[in-house]
């Protein structure tokens, strides 16, 4: 399980990095998902972005643990 990541000598929890990556990804994906039909039938369209963010946050961590363990520091 990848538990911490070092950036320029500072060790930070991996969860923080996944959260930042997820936020950036959601920001980039915002325009494409606004074109989806499901976006228009939600009461609060931004809920979809929030759901995408938490899913990505969790998914990035799980993905990294499964596949990146060999070359990413744990």
């Amino acid at each position: 399980m990848i538990e911490e990541v070092h950036v320029l000598g500072v060790y930070m929890p991996a969860a923080l990095l996944w959260a930042v990556l997820a936020a950036v990804l959601v920001y980039l994906l915002r325009v494409p998902i606004q074109r989806l039909p499901v976006y228009r039938i939600l009461w609060h369209p931004s809920l979809l972005e929030l759901a995408l963010f938490v899913l990505l946050w969790w998914g990035l961590g799980a993905f990294a643990d499964l596949f990146l363990h060999e070359w990413l520091f744990s």
């Binding site: 399980m1 538990e3 911490e4 070092h6 060790y11 929890p13 969860a15 499901v38 039938i41 939600l42 009461w43 609060h44 809920l47 979809l48 929030l50 759901a51 938490v54 899913l55 946050w57 969790w58 961590g61 799980a62 060999e70 070359w71 990413l72 520091f73 744990s74």
Partner: protein, 299 residues
Amino acid sequence: MLQRHNLLRSIATLLVLIVILAAIYALWLRYQVEPVTRDGKVRADMVPVAADVSGLVTEIRVADNQAVKKGDVLFVIDRPRYRLALEQAEAAIASDRVALAQAVREDRRNRAMPDVIAAEAIEQGRARAEGLRAVLGQAVAARDLARFNLERTMVRAPVDGTISNLSLQPGVYLTAGKAALALVYNHSMRVEGYFEETKLPAIRVGDPASVYLMGVADEIKGHVQSIAGGVEDRERAGADGQLANVNPSFTWVRLAQRIPVRIAIDKVPANVRMIPGQTATVVIHPRKDGREVHRSLPW
């Protein structure tokens, strides 16, 4: 038509909300419940090596950070002085022997002539011989002690280990009992993980564990050897026999204490060096045998 559309919107919104809650629950399990800690430390027992006799250090036989075996000589303290003390003790024995022999001869002569010598004088002569025999016994013990001290001027490694923090130089005066260098007892190397008490229910003695040193990707295998028997209760101060001194309540926020969990090392990769004090990430892999503790949900 509008009604149906509204229903669809409600259901879709609800579904998205459920997805959000499920993902938050998964994140919570992942980062709050799984028995993982980044606050692990490599630890080993340390022997502060001290001299048993006082004196000037005359010779250092080890270098800093050197590995030593049990019984190796680490440094030597002023042997000439303790050799002189031994010679002095041996001379004292010789002198006591001479005095005793003389007293014994006198005593024997006195007892051979009971008609000429007063009974009191004979008794005194016998007492002097007995006393000198006791003095000789003392002198022999003093000689043995001097020999023992001479032996103890060679300070030896009490355990297998690694010399650490050696700054001793010849010429330093050491007093008996003062630690001169630190010897790290290599066989006691282990990792202590400081786990939050919320993660403790998932950990049981014997569970396999993975340890990752900071900056090292290679896995060190181990298992849970034991869990600390207790940590201090930080809510109360004061000694036994006094009234309890309990801190005022801090109602809103409470922090999880951390409990040391001792990880015995089973296998270290050949290229990984463990140094006591290093930071480590400890991951416990709980065994699934149906004996899990029910843990509470976030509320």
